[in-house]
């Protein structure tokens, strides 16, 4: 059977599909387009499955494009994505979106796989002068921790809401933000992750006097 190519997409060969922790995959495929760090694309496996949006989670100079996704057992697409192997095809839209990284100092705040655009920004050389605050439940969910720890000029803070770990703030990301005394007023804040976090953090930052036009949010839907 020949699958028809969904409208507006390009067929790309899967290069690797790594399960980096339980049910979370880092999927890498051929790169058909140039993009800017922080952009997203829509992706599907055939014309019958509605495409989903994924932030690009790889650098602008890499040979391939990668995305980070968690498998939703009740979903249509992600259980199939989890089974992909090298050589299989994915159908990918051109990149778009304006949650873009820059060289300016900034605070990056993410939960779960919301770390994806920051992986892209950091791999694209935009990690200098940044503070990255990543919130998750357990230590296994700090994807790319070793990568971020090694970046010069990037302060990496992780907050685990369940369990107690070394080199980690043991508590929710919002609790960390409440306790910290240093939240610069004039830097940009980039928020990416589940909508509840985005809203809670945005409210908290505004309460702390950060102008709302310094806060840029990317929602996952």
């Amino acid at each position: 059977m020949i699958e028809s190519t969904p409208v507006g997409t390009t067929a790309c060969k899967v290069v690797a599909n790594e399960e980096i922790t339980d049910n979370v995959h880092y999927l890498t495929f051929e790169r058909p387009y140039d993009f800017e760090a922080g952009q997203l694309l829509s992706l599907t496996l055939n014309a019958n499955i509605p495409p989903r949006l994924y932030s690009i989670a790889s650098g602008t100079n890499n040979d391939c494009i990668s995305i980070l996704f968690d498998v939703k057992p009740e979903g249509t697409l992600t259980p199939l994505l989890a089974k992909l192997a090298a050589g299989d095809l994915v159908f990918v839209s051109p990149p778009y979106g304006s949650f873009l990284g820059s060289n300016e100092p900034a605070i990056w705040i993410a939960t779960g796989t919301g770390i994806a655009p920051f992986i892209s920004m950091a791999q694209s050389g935009l990690g200098d002068n940044k503070t990255l605050i990543h919130g998750a439940r357990t230590i296994n969910e700090f994807y790319f921790a070793h990568f971020f720890e090694a970046i010069k000029g990037l302060t990496y803070i992780r907050c685990a809401s369940k369990g107690s770990y070394s080199n980690t703030y043991n508590g929710r990301l919002t609790a960390y933000l409440r306790e910290t005394s240093s939240l610069p007023l004039n830097e940009k804040y980039y928020l990416c992750g589940n909508p509840l976090m985005v809203n809670e953090v945005r409210d908290l930052l505004i309460e702390r006097g950060i102008p709302f036009d310094n806060i840029l949010s990317e929602i996952f839907f």
Binding site: G97, R172, N194, M197, R202, F212, F220, F221
Partner: protein, 351 residues
């Protein structure tokens, strides 16, 4: 009246889905039409009321399904007659619906999701995060379970949630509302709103004849990104370009909702850019006064500015009205009632 959480609802199924139910249970094909009659014409709330089905057929149905019905658990009434209903969902979340009587019209504003993923800065519902999609039955239940059901003349999908993020169930509810087997409403009595999720909006325009309302709030890219994160994904300029491909000069209309924020989106530059953005689309702009929500950094424009903005747009040929503020004494903002209920539950979140 509550619902058995373990049994699927018949209420909210389209005729095509009821035919599948009948087939799967070995019932004759015409049973589907009879069930639709009981659900949508005779307002039955119990399978035992389906008296033109054989007792055996009813037993077979009852073994697998229930009609489904959820009564509201709270209602607040405004001095202007507006009522705000609080409904639980099947999964124990909460949604709100607003009944708005106005002379010869009676409009119900329904929710399409519990909570919302879109994170708009000015929205109270956004603060709940996303709770759940509503089934078609849960969407329609808001319509038929209020005492004013028979009085309704208009329906707007402008309550909690982004309808285009739950399009399958929204379309099923519209099919039931507008089909002969269902409630038989004209699609021109129904308006569905969106913040501009382009692919889903396109599908909605293909599959439904109902009116469309777009939450616009500013024509400028940088500004809209700060107010509405969706702008990072789908730009309002691209939404407008998509709408130019569709015909809004006949039965179906498109309107743009515009909340007026003091010193933010209420300047002459905004008038100019709005005119440019909407050039080529036959439409109407509804200006909405902003009633601040807790903790918001935004303020509402003053009345003189609102009226001046309206006149400036009308003078440029863009039909613009100011929406009457209704039920201010009870609902400052949609989402307050359900947020209060949700907070009682204090659910653990994962970050």
């Amino acid at each position: 009246m509550t619902t058995d959480i373990n049994k699927p609802w018949l209420y909210g199924k389209t005729l095509a889905e009821l035919k599948e139910v009948a087939t799967s249970l070995g019932l004759p094909g015409f049973t589907a039409k009879q069930i639709a009659d009981w659900l949508y014409k005779k307002n039955a709330t119990n399978i035992d009321q389906f008296t033109n089905l054989s007792i055996k057929a009813r037993e077979v149905l009852k073994a697998e399904y229930q009609v489904g019905y959820i009564a509201h658990t709270d209602v607040q009434t405004s001095i202007d007659g507006t009522k705000k209903y609080l409904f639980p969902t099947v999964g124990g979340k909460f949604i709100e619906s607003a009944y708005i009587p106005d002379r010869d019209r009676a409009t119900l504003c329904v929710s399409s999701q519990s909570g919302c993923k879109m994170g708009c800065l000015f929205c109270m519902t956004a603060k709940q995060g996303f709770q759940s999609h509503l089934s078609a039955g849960e969407i329609l239940n808001q319509v038929r379970a209020i005492p004013e059901f028979e009085k309704l003349t208009n329906l707007v999908y402008m309550g909690m949630g982004e309808p285009m993020d739950n399009l399958k169930n929204v379309l099923a509810s519209l099919d039931i509302l507008t089909s002969d087997y269902g409630y038989g409403w004209s699609p021109t009595r129904i308006t569905v709103s969106t913040i501009g999720v382009i692919p889903a909006m396109r599908e909605f325009l293909e599959k439904s004849k109902c009116h469309l309302a777009i939450s616009l709030h500013t024509p400028f890219d940088e500004e809209r990104r700060k107010l509405m994160p969706i702008q990072n994904v789908y730009k309002i300029r691209d939404v407008a370009e998509e709408l130019k491909q569709w015909d809004f000069t006949k039965q179906r209309r498109v309107s743009f909702e515009y909340i007026m924020f003091k010193d933010l989106n209420d300047t002459p530059a905004h008038v100019k850019e709005l005119v440019r953005l909407l050039n080529g689309i036959k439409c109407r702009i509804n200006l909405i006064r902003f009633h601040p929500i807790p903790g918001t950094p935004l303020l509402g424009s003053d009345e003189q500015t609102v009226q001046g903005f309206k006149e400036a747009l009308n003078a440029k040929g863009v039909v613009t009205t100011v929406r009457a503020s209704r039920g201010q004494d009870i609902y400052a903002a949609c989402g307050l009632l359900s947020t209060k209920e949700l907070n009682k539950k204090e659910e653990e979140t994962d970050f």
